[in-house]
């Protein structure tokens, strides 16, 4: 048993292939995990603070800058919150196109994550560039799908990083029918590629891991929830965005600039696998068929299924975009006029990495009095650490340091943590 007596200190100073900067410290003493910390050292960027005093028309452009990979999530959530407070009813065109726009981000972000960040681990590669040498067709397909997602964002936002198309009340401009026709053809052509991606992703051998956790995701009566719906949990919770803070709490750990979220005193899961666990009954027929073909049983308690879940959501997003762009017509106006009003605005949407929640207190002139933004990565933070402990024990602590480190990295990447987003910042003196 001398093997178990050793003291192991694994320190990963910079986590590769995650967005933003984080580090991992693991100390094993006498066969037990003595310390396990996912440290975030992305410095705070104080978004919630400098939104104060800003006019509502500036918010979509400012919150986009929280994350270069999921700017649409931030824009759409802020717009949803403010439109609700201001009593704005979007035109059916704008409502549908918000979802299409958001689908573009899911396609882009998920494909980037699968191919550039997560998959190399499972093929013994260090990067997508190495992976491209042994799986060139799969990588090129992935990069094409990612590019298509970017193009769909571009159609509505003029660019895919910090797009400029969203305004409170709709969009600044509407794409021409000719542009949408071209886009539809490309989306249609991508369907078989996305189906092949699901089969490929499902064929990647992943560790068997079984953990108990609560899944939290939005639910909508008709849709696979993305840009609208209430907040649901696998234990039966169903609330509106305005009740989020009554059920979910945040705290800061001494070692991190990120904040941790708890639900009923426990960590919980948000993101693609949580969504699939809760909403697989809302998938279109064709997507459900493909999912059944993979043999994935839902709800799943193995976070390594996150990769397949992302692939499934890419196909879903393609189907949704095509459905909503069918019979496209340019609107008379892409936006409706807005009159600001004082009050508290709540909004939530499903960012690629999971539930994103915003709260804005607004004055009568339409300026921000206070803002609070809870991104998915800080909600997953506690879950990632709990998962690391459990899955390391499952994996076996007697593996060599390098194997332990790689396993930890794989586990962390399942969550696709976006550390840039994770560093939001909360006024702990908020009264409730």
């Amino acid at each position: 048993m001398s093997e178990l007596k050793r003291t192991v200190a694994v320190h990963v100073p910079v986590l590769a292939r995650v967005e933003g900067e984080g580090a991992l410290d693991l100390r094993i003493v006498d066969g037990e995990i003595a310390e396990l910390r996912l440290r975030i050292f992305e410095p705070p960027r104080f978004f919630e603070k400098f939104l104060e005093g800003r006019h509502y028309t500036e918010i979509p452009d400012m919150v986009a800058r929280i994350c270069g990979i999921c700017p649409v999530a931030y824009q759409a959530t802020a717009a949803q919150a403010l439109e609700h407070l201001f009593g704005v009813e979007l035109s059916p065109w704008a409502r549908d196109m918000r979802r299409v726009f958001y689908c573009g981000e899911w396609i882009q972000s998920h494909s980037l994550h699968i191919h550039l960040l997560a998959a190399p681990d499972f093929f013994g590669c260090n990067s997508v560039i190495e992976l491209a040498k042994i799986a060139p067709d799969a990588v090129r397909r992935g990069l094409r799908i990612q590019a298509l997602g970017n193009e769909l964002m571009d159609v509505f936002g003029a660019r895919s990083v910090h797009p400029v198309g969203v305004r409170i009340g709709g969009f600044h401009g509407a794409p021409s029918l000719a542009r949408i026709r071209t886009m539809r053809e490309k989306l249609r052509a991508a369907l078989p590629e996305a189906e092949a991606l699901i089969r490929w992703a499902a064929g990647i051998a992943v560790p068997q891991d079984d953990q108990a956790f609560v899944s939290v995701a939005m639910r909508h009566p008709d849709d696979y929830a993305i840009e609208r719906g209430g907040i649901g949990a696998s234990d039966g919770l169903h609330i509106g965005a305005d009740a989020y803070a009554d059920h979910f709490t945040e705290r800061q750990e001494p070692h991190s600039t990120a904040l941790y979220s708890d639900y009923r005193g426990q960590p919980y899961l948000v993101g693609p696998l949580a969504r699939l666990n809760l909403n697989h009954d809302r998938l279109p027929e064709r997507v459900r068929m493909l999912l059944a073909e993979t043999g994935l049983v839902l709800p799943s308690r193995n976070l390594f299924h996150s990769l397949v879940a992302r692939a499934v959501e890419i196909l879903l997003a393609l189907h949704e975009a095509l459905r909503l762009l069918d019979g496209y017509r340019e609107p008379d106006s892409p936006w409706v006029p807005v009159t600001p009003r004082a009050g508290v605005a709540y909004g939530c949407t499903e960012a690629p990495r999971g539930l994103l929640w915003h709260r804005y207190e607004m004055d009568a002139d339409g300026r921000v009095v206070s803002a609070r933004i809870v991104p998915p990565t800080s909600q997953n933070q506690g879950r990632i650490e709990a998962d690391l402990r459990l899955s390391l024990l499952n994996f076996g602590l007697d593996h060599p340091d390098d194997a332990l480190r790689l396993h930890c990295e794989k586990v962390i990447r399942n969550y696709d943590p976006c550390i840039s987003c994770a560093t939001h910042f909360l006024a702990l003196n908020i009264g409730r």
Binding site: E42, P43, R54, D61, R65, G68, I129, R144, A147, V161
Partner: protein, 264 residues
């Protein structure tokens, strides 16, 4: 590419940012694989390779300097890099997070975090050029794939990259977009903002909000006067300049003037 060709060694470093400018590489699609043939990506944490202290021909730097540790890291990068090129508004002007520079950021941390000691944050968010010599700057929030490729291609050819210091207005004219300010009275930052984006915002019929930073010889006084004529108050004019590139000297000065209410 023949095995005998020596490929330039390239690093991509991240400081305080949203990661969006690195996406100019990661969103290249299949061109990313071609790029990886032409240059050797030595350090690029988000893409995989990790070797922050390797000697490189070109270091692209995303993000602003905003922690005590950053101060040391940017010096090391400078030492190891033949050319150092900041990319994006955070690296060239401190970024949107530099909006904290006007307030006491450290005090915010102490007031709000229950464990402020874990939050190592400098009072100011500053551009890379405030700390080390830079060889070329790419402005934009975010920089685009074509901008990056253009710089890489120029360097591969051994020529100086082209610096676009024109105004967004020139891009509108070139593309035949009607002027949103003249035709609809929308307070547009295009007349003082650096070109390079392709006039995306006016192309959608909306105002430019200055995400590419100030153009050369930006006449901010004249634009402020124009904004006043459109009915904007001093506070609104100040906020137009105090946004994504608030610390860029031309915008900083214009915001200051608006605040002091002493323009012309």
């Amino acid at each position: 590419m023949g095995g005998s060709t020596v490929r330039p060694r390239v690093a991509v470093h991240k400081f305080s940012s949203c990661d969006g400018c690195q996406l100019a590489f990661l969103n290249l699609g299949e061109s990313l694989l071609d790029l990886a043939q032409r240059v050797e990506l030595v350090h690029f944490a988000e893409a995989g390779p990790l070797d922050p202290d390797a000697e490189v021909d070109v270091a692209f730097v995303e993000g602003s300097v905003s922690t005590p540790e950053d101060l040391d890291r940017i010096q090391r990068i400078r030492t190891h890099s033949r050319l150092l090129i900041p990319i994006g508004a955070c690296a060239t002007a401190g970024g949107i997070q530099a909006l904290r520079n006007d307030v006491d950021g450290a005090q915010w941390v102490a007031q709000i975090y229950s464990h402020p000691e874990a939050v190592a944050s400098l009072a100011h968010s500053t551009p890379i050029a405030a700390h080390v010599k830079v060889d070329f700057e790419l402005w934009g929030c975010p920089v685009s794939g074509p901008q990056i490729l253009q710089v890489v291609n120029a360097l591969l050819l051994g020529v100086a990259p082209h610096d676009n210091v024109d105004k967004v207005c020139t891009e509108c004219k070139r593309r035949g977009y009607p002027c949103v300010m003249v035709s609809r009275g929308v307070p547009c930052m295009g007349p003082v903002t650096r070109a390079g984006c392709g006039a995306l915002c006016p192309g959608l019929g909306r105002d430019c909000y200055g995400c590419y930073g100030p153009a050369e010889n930006a006449n901010t006084d004249s634009l402020s006067a124009q904004f006043r004529g459109l009915g904007l108050g001093a506070a609104a004019i100040e906020q137009r300049f105090r946004s994504i590139n608030s610390q860029a000297p031309a915008f900083f000065a214009a915001a200051d003037k608006a605040r002091a209410g002493r323009d012309e």
